[in-house]
Symmetry: C2
Subunit: 135 residues, 2 copies
């Protein structure tokens, strides 16, 4: 459990560095996953539009976001005035950014897999471009 938490924190830090390297201010939210409020893992902005991101790292197979995680992400984003996204890191692959609208609900929770072996998302540079184009 502690190991998983540390892995999650390291993944969040990796994304934070990635965004700052592009000049986009990015913060990790303290206590996300443990506090009572529906807060995302990280908040980033291109200066015009904030983006709230929930993160998951995937060792093998697929990981699911719980309904509560996604509901909280949508609730926070609507109140904050941010765009809700998830970022998923599959082992050995670059970060994949997926809009909450593109998540697929399954009996296990929300998945980034739209069909067998297929995901619908964007890599980092395309995500940056998308946010710029929407703001």
């Amino acid at each position: 459990m502690i190991n998983r938490k540390r892995k999650g924190t390291n993944a969040e830090r990796e994304l934070v560095h990635l965004f700052w390297s592009k000049g986009w201010p990015c913060v990790r939210v303290a206590g996300s996953g443990s506090i009572r409020y529906p807060v995302p893992d990280i908040l980033v902005s291109n200066g015009l539009k904030p983006v709230a991101i929930e993160i998951k790292i995937v060792g093998s197979g697929y990981k699911y976001f719980s309904r509560k995680e996604i509901d909280d992400l949508i609730l926070f984003s609507s109140k904050f005035g941010a765009m809700p996204f998830v970022a998923v890191k599959f082992s050995g692959s670059p970060w994949l950014f997926v809009s909450v609208e593109n998540l697929v609900e399954t009996p296990h929770g929300f998945s980034v897999r739209v069909s067998e072996g297929e995901v619908k998302g964007m890599f980092f540079e395309d995500f940056i471009d998308l946010v710029d184009s929407l703001s």
Copy 2:
């Protein structure tokens, strides 16, 4: 030092609760004060305009914000698209919110004291109203 850090964290949490009680989503920034990036202590939004806030609790006398703290707050805010504010809690008084433009530079750093015994700021409800009126 640990005690001071804990006091600071508790003060941040108090503000976080205060904003959420008004329905404004508010987060504490992980690692503020220790990481390499110029991040504020808390981020809050009324849904239209984010506000970046640097916090100080004051036991007795006046406390100063360093030039770096204020420069970082302004830099982050301009990149994020947020309004830069400081929030100061004097012992036994309610939170006081001060715009960075109203801080006074002294040989010791930036102060919320504009003249002997006089501060220029807003209490919580007026701060809420101001942000709403500016966004």
